[in-house]
Symmetry: C2
């Protein structure tokens, strides 16, 4: 599949590398098509890896990962409406505000979420919130934690888009999914990050996840 | 032990009943010492159960549960400083704002939590945030979910107070604890409620909990 990864940071690089390894054609999107880290990633990942502007990357792919920093996501994605129309956007970003240090708070107002803001800004795109609740290495290799016996949370307005994202996640090793419903549930998936940042210290690692039991 | 439960709602009644059953002397606190639901609870629970004003209940006990509605907690507890000095307050409340319907949002501002607000209002009291992240029936009977194989989250500034609360929770059946550190971690324990309310529908029950795996 042709997949784009918007953002050249650790999350984008980790996801992009895994997807190239699985045989997908992956274009990384950046503000600058000659971005040094992006070019380094292309060089390391061979012929199926490429770099372009955010617009080139959005135009290239059937399925797009938003791996930009939460603070920048609306600014970057808001301008890509026509290129993303009818496509699936996997939003792994979080609205974290580090302006007062650690632990971060959320910059979204009560009763809203970054996932919903992106869906409103991109009404013709199918936004699926997924993978935002785990560290990048676990996103692409869930078996790093408890042999993969933990839950992937997912939400979005379009059932077909969620099915495509779930299928791709299964190819990464994800076994258990909890479909939280429409994109409003991004409030909970992002709100959980406030707990995530509190767990990391006591657990002594960012390689952890949730198993929801009933 | 002499324990008080502030609040006559379902959570207060469930906790109070369980503690009486374990042999503790339990006073339920209410705005009105002749509160009808409170008197009904006393009648159903025998000689170790009693009812009083919030102040009488706070004065009576060594350990106090805050089971008031989140919206009312600061108003009720803020006036009990001298009665609660040196005591342990187990805060099971949540800052849920239902003014825009379901799902609720949080009424606390970014970078704060109800647990911290209570600790600031009651500087001589040892506030321990616990049990706010599960339904009342599971709070007092954790084996209802996955034979008890899931995590109790706890935080607070005083290690001795957390140890006392953990010991009491063990007597309820809790086996696994994650100590998140000082009361600041209440932000995460309360923020998780945004996910909790999204999980309840898809899971088809409020009887669920988290097992944190790494």
């Amino acid at each position: 599949m042709k997949i784009s990864v918007l953002g050249t940071g650790a999350v984008g690089q980790t996801i992009g590398t895994k997807l190239v390894g699985l045989g997908h054609e992956v274009k990384m999107g950046s503000r600058d098509a000659n971005h040094v880290k992006g070019l380094g990633w292309v060089k390391a990942n061979g012929v199926r890896a490429s770099l372009g502007t955010f617009l080139e990357a959005a135009s290239f792919a059937e399925l797009v990962f938003n791996c930009t920093a939460g603070r920048a996501s609306l600014d970057v994605l808001g301008g890509l409406g026509p290129a993303l129309a009818g496509k699936v956007l996997v939003d792994v970003s979080n609205p974290l505000d580090f302006s007062n240090g650690f632990p971060p708070s959320l910059f979204t107002p009560p009763g809203d979420s970054l996932g919903e803001q992106l869906q409103r800004a991109l009404p013709a795109c199918h936004v699926v919130k997924a993978l935002n609740h785990i560290s990048a290495d676990v996103m692409v290799d869930p078996k790093l934690v408890a042999s993969g016996d933990h839950d992937a949370l997912i939400c979005g307005n379009d059932a077909g888009a969620k099915a495509r994202v779930s299928e791709l996640m299964q190819s990464l090793g994800w076994q258990r999914f909890v479909d939280l419903g429409d994109i409003k549930a991004a409030r909970g998936m992002e709100g959980y990050l406030l707990l995530w940042v509190s767990l990391m210290g006591p657990l002594g690692t960012a390689q952890f996840s949730l198993k929801i039991v009933k």
